[in-house]
């Protein structure tokens, strides 16, 4: 059976899906990813689906499950590179993939992860000192 490789880059796990997402492949990816997050202790997961022509409801649900699992393991998941045609189809089908964060490409996805990580870090520091007003307009 084909498997989707999981690559570790710094503090991020990168998954680029280049093959047709069959149900078995999706389930295998879910398992592999959970294991790798625990082994590597990464805090971010980027799933690149820019090569996918079709995202059906099962794949959509698996992506949502992966995001939930990662969150439990203290890792943010960002789905990047969704094609316009895929997005339109999902909207027409009424699937809005709740609970999944998205970005246009891998670079913006990494930015997003870095930002949310920094905010989290700030929050932890803020807890110790007095609350600071962030808006300085």
């Amino acid at each position: 059976m084909e498997r989707v490789p999981v690559l570790k880059i710094g503090d991020i796990l990168l998954v680029s899906i280049q093959i047709d997402m069959e149900d078995q492949v999706a389930l295998q990816l879910q398992e592999d990813l959970a294991e790798r997050i625990v082994v590597t202790g990464c805090h971010g997961v980027i799933i690149d689906i820019s090569a996918l022509d079709i995202v059906d409801s099962f794949v959509g649900r698996t992506l949502a499950t992966i995001a939930s699992i990662s969150r439990v393991l203290d890792a943010e998941t960002v789905v990047v590179g969704m094609r316009p045609a895929v997005a339109i189809t999902l909207v027409e089908l009424g699937l809005s993939l709740p609970g999944i964060r998205t970005a246009l490409n891998v670079e913006l996805g990494m930015d997003l992860l870095a930002r949310s990580r920094a905010e989290e870090y700030d929050d932890e520091q803020d807890d110790e000192s007095d609350p600071v007003v962030v808006n300085e307009s």
């Binding site: 960002v78 789905v79 990047v80 969704m82 094609r83 316009p84 895929v86 997005a87 339109i88 999902l90 909207v91 027409e92 809005s96 993939l97 964060r101 998205t102 970005a103 246009l104 490409n105 670079e107 913006l108 996805g109 307009s137």
Partner: protein, 281 residues
């Protein structure tokens, strides 16, 4: 009443004998209706060619316009209607150009009651020719309208880059399903191509917002979100805001702003850039 083959021959001979007088009389009548929008020499060339085509068709034994020997005539007639349609003449003016031929022929006929029967048959033939002209005129006009509608569809949906990482779609005109689809596809494609995480949909130019238009806009916003871009709706006029509330349309957590400037300021605020910052030289 169909033209007999002897009648066709006679008229073919008549058209050839009196060609100068015929074309002259024909031109005089057509010039009146066209009121100087076509030069006399141009008209002379057209009617001359048409007369020759009529003569050839009749000499070839055509008793109706559908005959194979009238193919040349049909080609001439459709060429005439194409050029008239493109130059903006009305359907009547185009058809009259052909009908006038009957009167011109009547003048050249001998004062003899015996030809009346054949003249009526010939007149039916010219009527058929004029109707054919009318039909091809309508076809050309419809093709023109279809072309323009397509051009309008392409022209009316530009996606412009407003700032680094911010694109805007100024919507102008009524949004129907076909246009909404084009707008959605073009916006999403631009987001991918430019890698812009923010899009502003400006509806200042949309005259009315009903549930259908709102549905289209909402779908676009949700699709953009799925791809990882944030959409802001701007340019909501007071009446439109009232309509939206009256219709019970929910924009949910989608940011809506009154003007494009507000939307841009909001986006820049979120990305941490300032619009007021002077440029470094």
């Amino acid at each position: 009443m169909a033209l007999s083959s002897e009648g066709a021959d006679r008229f073919a001979a008549l058209l050839e004998e009196n060609q100068e007088a015929l074309v002259g009389a024909w031109n005089d009548r057509v010039v009146e209706t066209l009121r100087g929008r076509l030069s006399r020499t141009e008209l002379h060339r057209q009617t001359g060619e048409l007369r020759r085509a009529f003569q050839l068709a009749l000499a070839g034994g055509a008793t109706s316009l559908a005959d194979p020997s009238a193919a040349e005539l049909r080609a001439q007639l459709s060429e005439l209607s194409t050029s008239r349609a493109r130059q903006g003449f009305t359907a009547t003016e185009t058809a009259v150009s052909v009908f006038a031929f009957k009167e011109a022929v009547l003048e050249s006929l001998p004062d003899d009651a015996s030809v009346l029967r054949e003249y009526i048959a010939f007149s039916t033939f010219v009527d058929a020719a004029a109707l054919f002209t009318f039909d091809s005129y309508v076809q050309v006009r419809e093709a023109l309208i279809a072309d323009q509608a397509e051009q309008l569809l392409e022209l009316s949906t530009p996606v412009v880059k407003l700032w680094e990482g911010v694109v805007a779609v100024p919507l102008v005109g009524t949004l129907d399903s076909a246009r909404a689809q084009v707008v959605m596809e073009r916006l999403l494609q631009t987001l991918v191509d430019t890698g812009s995480p923010y899009a502003i949909i400006d509806i200042t130019g949309v005259p009315a917002v009903d549930t259908q238009v709102a549905q289209h806009v909402l779908k676009t916003v949700v699709a953009a979100r799925l791809m990882g871009a944030d959409c802001i709706i701007s340019g909501i006029r007071p009446q439109i805001a009232q309509t939206i509330v009256a219709l019970g349309i929910e924009f949910g957590d989608i940011a809506t702003k009154a003007s494009l400037a507000d939307a841009l300021r909001y986006v820049l605020g979120k990305t941490g850039q300032s619009a007021r910052k002077p440029r470094e030289r």
